[in-house]
């Protein structure tokens, strides 16, 4: 993209103030907590020291947790990428009927919008000891808790991330290349090996890293399924703080988690984004129909994917069933009393979660636009740093951010614990990343000469922004806001440290129900949450379509 700017534009006072405010906000809510966390981890008795790390490194249990986190992350990344790739391949390369493609895509969206424990609950009931499926197929108990259960659950939860990335990549690779190979007589396997795979390689690597990061940071699934034999870092940090009241140890553990997370993030952002084998061009020739790999491989893939889809739908059906029966396994009379419970005792949590999500989403939208604009258009001094800092909270695992916020905001100079602002801040500064990236990508595709024209006609930068830039990036912003809203409703790993008597969340209520064996109520809460997120997501998508009638809906990440 050739920029027609020859030098950085001069900033008028309004822009300056905006930039200053951005830096202030990021400083308080991103840099300050990170700094306090490092302080509490590394500063002992007035000097720099590793004393807090000694008990953690010498403790065999915590070392095992680090090893397990990496092992689990790697395993889930492999299986999640493979599964996501199969789904993406089926949707983009096999000529499947429209309804099947829609089915594949929408079922794959389910794990992304559901609360964190859904698959854990359902899988425990199905494959855990004396589980439904085990009894059905007459299999003897296999050890579900520990690595295998967590591995299975996380694969099903995170493969959609790989699926979305790979669908975008695969659909942008010109299928004419593969068709050419087919017409020259190559076997499907050869085409796949020598044409498709190499072109998709950066996308595969990107998906791998994304799923790895998701698994590394996952707190909810291991809490329920990993058990004592398979400790992982996020749950260990949580237990250290909440069970052993050891804030320093927890901070040290979360730092251990931070290092691999940052490495993954750096790899993904700086190395991979440079390589792109996307072959977007002004399409010269007409597109022939996509030739798939032939009937046998296609059939196998379709069968396997159908099986996966059925399994996922079964999980949700199980949750729904759990929410409408009186006493699981004993008394199967249908009842709505679990929902009544959710709406009376859980009423506060539902209200609070919605309020927080509804306040945070517009703020996050505004923030993403401002940061994207400042980084991409205004190109102020240090804009690369601004961008990195704004994405920092997203790169870090949720428990790390939660612990950092507790450490930073529980004592002077800024006490925010127990307030709503700490919850909103943790969401906004963590999940506006999608919005920021979307806005930057959208701005990169818009020729700056449009804005130059506006400026040269005498409009101030604020006016240009409002009348020219904003309408053009609106689809990207709205897509980012949708992402923020969904995650504000379903997140738990950061916010479990931040809930208080005055502000509670549906996800923490689900966790409490789970630990108090109120499975039926946990299921009811989960269904309520899924429905709410679904409705809100649909409303926002509709809104986006209505507001952005012109041009293409350029929103990237959903």
């Amino acid at each position: 993209m050739i920029s027609t700017y020859s030098q950085r534009p001069r900033l008028d006072p309004v822009s300056r103030m905006v930039i200053a405010t951005l830096w202030l906000a990021l400083g308080v809510f991103v840099l300050y907590p990170a700094f306090r966390l490092l302080w509490i981890a590394f500063w002992v008795d007035g000097r720099l020291s590793f004393a807090n790390f000694m008990p953690v490194i010498t403790n065999w249990y915590d070392r095992m947790a680090l090893y397990n986190s990496l092992l689990l992350g790697g395993a889930v990344a492999v299986s999640g990428t493979v599964l996501g790739f199969l789904f993406a391949y089926a949707v983009t390369r096999l000529s499947l009927p429209m309804w099947f493609n829609v089915l594949l895509s929408s079922v794959s969206m389910l794990p992304l919008i559901s609360p964190p424990f859904t698959s854990s609950i359902a899988l425990t009931l199905s494959l855990g000891p004396n589980g439904i499926l085990l009894k059905l197929f007459g299999l003897s108990d296999f050890n579900f808790y520990g690595f295998w259960g967590t591995f299975l659950s996380e694969t099903l939860t995170f493969y959609p991330v790989a699926f979305m990335t790979l669908t975008t990549i695969l659909s942008r690779i010109d299928s004419n290349l593969e068709d050419a190979a087919y017409s020259m007589g190559a076997s499907p396997l050869r085409v796949f090996r020598t044409v498709t795979l190499p072109l998709a390689a950066p996308g595969l690597a990107n998906a791998f890293l994304l799923v790895f990061a998701c698994s590394l940071a996952d707190f909810a699934t291991p809490l329920v399924l990993a058990g004592h034999g398979f400790p992982v870092l996020p749950t260990q940090a949580y237990l250290q703080i909440t069970g052993m009241y050891d804030l320093k140890g927890g901070a040290a553990l979360s730092f251990m988690l931070l290092v691999p997370a940052l490495i993954v993030y750096a790899l993904q952002y700086y190395w991979l984004s440079k390589k792109s084998f996307v072959t977007v061009s002004g399409k010269a020739g007409g597109r022939s129909s996509v030739k798939g790999p032939g009937p046998v491989p296609s059939a196998l893939i379709v069968m396997f994917l159908s099986f996966v889809i059925v399994f996922i739908l079964y999980i949700y059906a199980l949750i729904f069933w759990g929410s409408i029966v009186k006493v699981w396994g004993i008394n199967n009379t249908l009842t709505i009393e679990n929902y009544k419970y959710a709406f009376t005792f859980g009423n506060k949590a539902i209200k609070d979660t919605l309020i927080i999500a509804c306040i945070g989403t517009p703020i996050g939208g505004l923030l993403s636009v401002l940061v994207g604009y400042a980084t991409e258009r205004l190109k102020v001094k240090g804009h690369k740093t601004l961008e990195t800092v704004s994405l920092l909270n997203f790169a870090l695992p949720g428990t790390v951010v939660g612990i950092a916020y507790v450490v930073a905001f529980n004592s002077k100079p800024l006490i925010l614990t127990g307030t709503v602002s700490i919850l909103i801040a943790s969401y906004v500064f963590r999940y506006d990343s999608a919005g920021i990236r979307n806005v930057i990508a959208a701005l990169q595709q818009i020729d700056p000469s449009i804005e130059e024209a506006s400026a040269s006609l005498g409009a101030s930068s604020a006016r240009t922004f409002r009348k020219v830039t904003l309408p053009l990036v609106l689809p990207a912003v709205l897509a980012g806001m949708r992402y923020l809203f969904i995650h504000s409703m379903t997140a738990i790993s950061a916010t479990i440290f931040l809930v208080s008597v005055r502000w509670s969340l549906i996800t923490t209520r689900i966790l409490e129900c789970m630990t108090e064996l109120q499975f039926a109520q946990a299921c009811a809460f989960s269904i309520v949450l899924i429905v709410l997120v679904f409705i809100a997501s649909a409303v926002m998508a509709l809104l986006a379509r209505v507001l952005c009638r012109t041009g293409n809906a350029g929103g990237g990440i959903q």
Binding site: T124, N143, Y145, G227, H228, Y245, V327, L517, F519
Partner: protein, 329 residues
Amino acid sequence: MKKFITLFCAVAFAAAPAFAAREINAYSIMPEKYVSKVTQAFTEDTGIKVNFMRFSSGEALSRLIAEKDNPQVDVLIGGPADTYEAGVKEGVFEKYVPKDVEMVPAKFRSPDGYWTGLGIIPLCFMTNENFLKKNGMKAPETWADLLDPRYKNGLQMADTRTSGTATERIFSLVKIMGEDEAFKYQKELHKNIQMYTKSGAGGAMPIATGQCASGIFYIVDALDIQQQGYPVVITYPKDGVSFGIEADGIIKGAKNLEDAKIFIDWLTSKRFAEFLVANHINYVPTRTDVKTDTPALNLANINLIETDVAWKGANRAHFVERWINDVIK
């Protein structure tokens, strides 16, 4: 006339704060299904609303300690007394001796007035009936019975790092067998463990549904499962078992101190003890003038071991440390 109106307004304004919504904030270690009923009854009786959040004992204590400088809540509801003692050491609680305290035996409340017991709960064994029938076994009668290899991968119980139920288990064993033997026993027991759960009652449902065979719980959680209709058998070990004292206390620096005091008084009252019995909330009331009617709660049938709360509080950290290093390694 004018004077009357002015006087009336003055009185109304003075009384207005009393009509503003009164509320207290609390952390509850008592499970949600009980504490929600309890607080509802309290609000009906006094008009004071209770906002609570439920945590297991380790989590609640660590929150209170972390929030010492800026307390977020006024009272702590439920939870074992040794958690309270550990909190007293950290300066988390406010001294308050409630009304009617003479009706609660001295061993069931803090000698210094920091906490008051509202009920006691012995530990017990809960076993799935179908498992026993399938294997032709009798329900466990002694601690050693749980070492039976037929229970392999069949036991669930609480994790000592987060749960008061788990530390109570260790206290029982140490009192019965002596510390080194107790940890040897637990290492043997570890071979049969399917999973250690975060909360004390976490393993009860899996036993109820048959996912695992047996476990050790406070009687309140075990009875709750049985009363719901699940096929479980509750037994007490003949060689002895200790009990937890479910307590309550006011947090130092509580923002709603007066209403918090009213709440503690209410929890110590006869009305509350009778409420527990009437609603099948299975704590044995500490008040000497209220008797429970559930046979499983009859303390005369249990070999109860007395434990000193101060001893428990002092040794908790050490036992947890030892458990991590000697038992689950």
